[in-house]
């Protein structure tokens, strides 16, 4: 324990340049027994709950499987059927629309509020906590129930609009609007990225701002030329995280649409359809194929972000 004191987990072990290789190798891992003992629960979990299930799921995706009888090998049949499944294509459309609208909206709200908060306001603690609360509540059934009541035909929003003589639409009953109520619900939970932006803003070097002020730069100029570029690593982090989360959204779509993904499949998010196929009609092979496609899509999005990061993420340190 004493010699390796300075070695952080992600850094390679520091070795003396002239040290003979065999001796280094022998000395390298001092705590093999203790290390694997402490790691044992996690190791059982990573194999039993993640790695083996994923391989099993890959196998299931090539079969017809209803849980009660043994899986029947069908090759790539499930994947081929996905391409001609109208509801599946609809769920992809709905999900992509949901992801590309809800994520930017949420991050924009988070950034706006974080910048407004980062002025050394007196009530910072109060604001921060209150804005964060919806993020904690947001994924729950109760909030989705509440959302359903706000946007229903005779819900809170339309009562409010009626005060101004406006007759609101049936927001969750109309396929043109239903998905947007879910996008709004997602944006409502901007608390987590806001906290991350706020922590980032606190670390920005103040001298740049003083210099900008001396040069007479306006507030917008300062925001777009200094704050945003310096904050780009946090934007990147939030973008990756929120995109992954958005692809997995289930509860609001399920509850707001009354467990159907309607009206006419307008809120049929990917996970909802996967649930219908896997657990509604017990087509577990088909659902496994869906899960693998989702995995690939999320992987592709993440790879795209990392590839594009070189162009817009500013790593100063």
């Amino acid at each position: 324990m004493s010699e390796n004191a300075g070695v952080a987990v992600l850094e390679p072990p520091a070795t003396a340049p002239g040290a003979p290789a065999p001796a280094r190798k022998r000395k390298r891992h001092k705590h093999n027994r203790a290390g694997y003992a402490f790691l044992a629960p996690w190791l059982i979990g990573i194999f039993g709950l993640t790695l083996i299930p994923m391989l099993y799921s890959l196998y299931l995706s090539l079969t017809k499987f209803n849980l009660l009888t043994d899986p029947q090998w069908t090759g790539l049949d499930n994947y081929a059927r996905l391409l001609s499944d109208e509801r599946y294509l609809q769920s992809i459309k709905v999900t992509l629309l949901y992801v590309v609208t809800s994520v930017p909206l949420k991050l924009a709200a988070a950034l706006l509020v974080a910048v407004a908060l980062n002025r050394g306001l007196k009530a910072l603690g109060f604001y921060r906590a209150t804005f964060y609360l919806p993020s904690l509540l947001g994924a729950s059934v109760a909030v989705s129930v509440m959302w359903r009541q706000i946007f229903s035909r005779d819900g809170l929003l339309n009562d409010f609009l009626a005060l101004f003589g406006i007759r609101g639409a049936d927001w969750i009953g109309d396929p043109r609007y239903a998905l947007w109520t879910l996008v709004l619900l997602s944006a409502w939970q901007f608390g987590t990225p806001m906290l991350i932006f706020l922590a980032g803003l606190k670390q920005l070097p103040q001298d740049l701002y003083e210099a900008a002020e001396l040069d007479g730069a306006g507030r917008f100029r300062v925001f777009f030329s200094i704050t945003l570029p310096l904050l780009s690593p946090m934007v990147f982090f939030n973008l990756v995280l929120e995109t992954i989360n958005a692809f997995q959204t289930f509860t609001p779509a399920y509850v707001v649409s009354g467990g159907l993904g309607g009206p006419i499949d307008s809120t049929l998010l990917y996970t909802l359809y996967l649930y219908f196929r896997g657990f509604g009609s017990m087509q577990m092979g088909y659902a496994s194929a869906m899960a693998w496609v989702l995995f690939a899509v999320i992987g592709a999005f993440t790879a795209l972000y990392f590839w594009s990061a070189r162009r817009w993420v500013n790593y100063t340190d």
């Binding site: 987990v9 402490f38 790691l39 083996i52 407004a116 050394g120 059934v141 509860t251 659902a287």
Partner: protein, 283 residues
Amino acid sequence: MTTTAKPRRRVKYHWRAHTLLLVILVVMIYPIVWLVGASFKPENQIFTTVNPLPFGFTIANYVNGWTATGTSFTVYLSNSLTISACVVVGNLVSCSLAAYAFARLDFAFRRTWFALMLGTMMLPFQATLIPQYSIFYELNWINTFLPLVVPHLLAYDAFFIFLMVQFIRGIPRELDEAAALDGAGHVRVFVSVILPLMKPALITTTILTFIWTFNDFLRQLVYLSDNTRYTAPLGLNSFVDRASGSSYGGMLAMSVVTLVPTVAVFLISQKRLVEGMATTGLK
């Protein structure tokens, strides 16, 4: 924080920021206030006014809603609390063990395992949902709490391992070394030195695990089918499934009930929670 030359401009600045923030805050929080108010209104008043204050205050919605789904909410809540408590204990123990290994011990393939652990944080849960279900089905665990609890005894939530690893790295090595010189083995160092010092990380883990487990829905929906095994979110959901219109008042009242534990934990711990989230997100 900001260095501004002209104090007068600064005051105005803040005034505008406060106005903007307060408007956003009111719009955001209004629905929750309305929900709480509506849950105390007589049934016929709920959808006729935007006023959150109930005229003719009544607790009838709570009384009726509590048993409206056939099983009492007492059962749902105690199921939810049982599961949440087990998951909290599981996460605290299994994640801190793994975190200690990753942060302090030197063993073969440590970096490989660590990278794998980070990778699982990005893994969509759908990827393992179906195969896990069929494994638990073979084990005859469907309609029990085991599929919801056992994974967390095996450090399934990589996020918390990561959070704890980051925290342990911040603890000076000299402290474990001093204990080791006194003859303490890894178990002793872990239990008497590291665990007490990582209390803040353990508290953050407890709070977040509790809230996330209590509000989890899809897994509970998949694994629990018997009404008496239902959790609070599932109980609430059966209001939605049940011919809507039957009892909006009861549904709203029970929504408030299932939000209470989360809000209570949040109110008790908000400072630590907010700071914990802000710093873990950064790293």
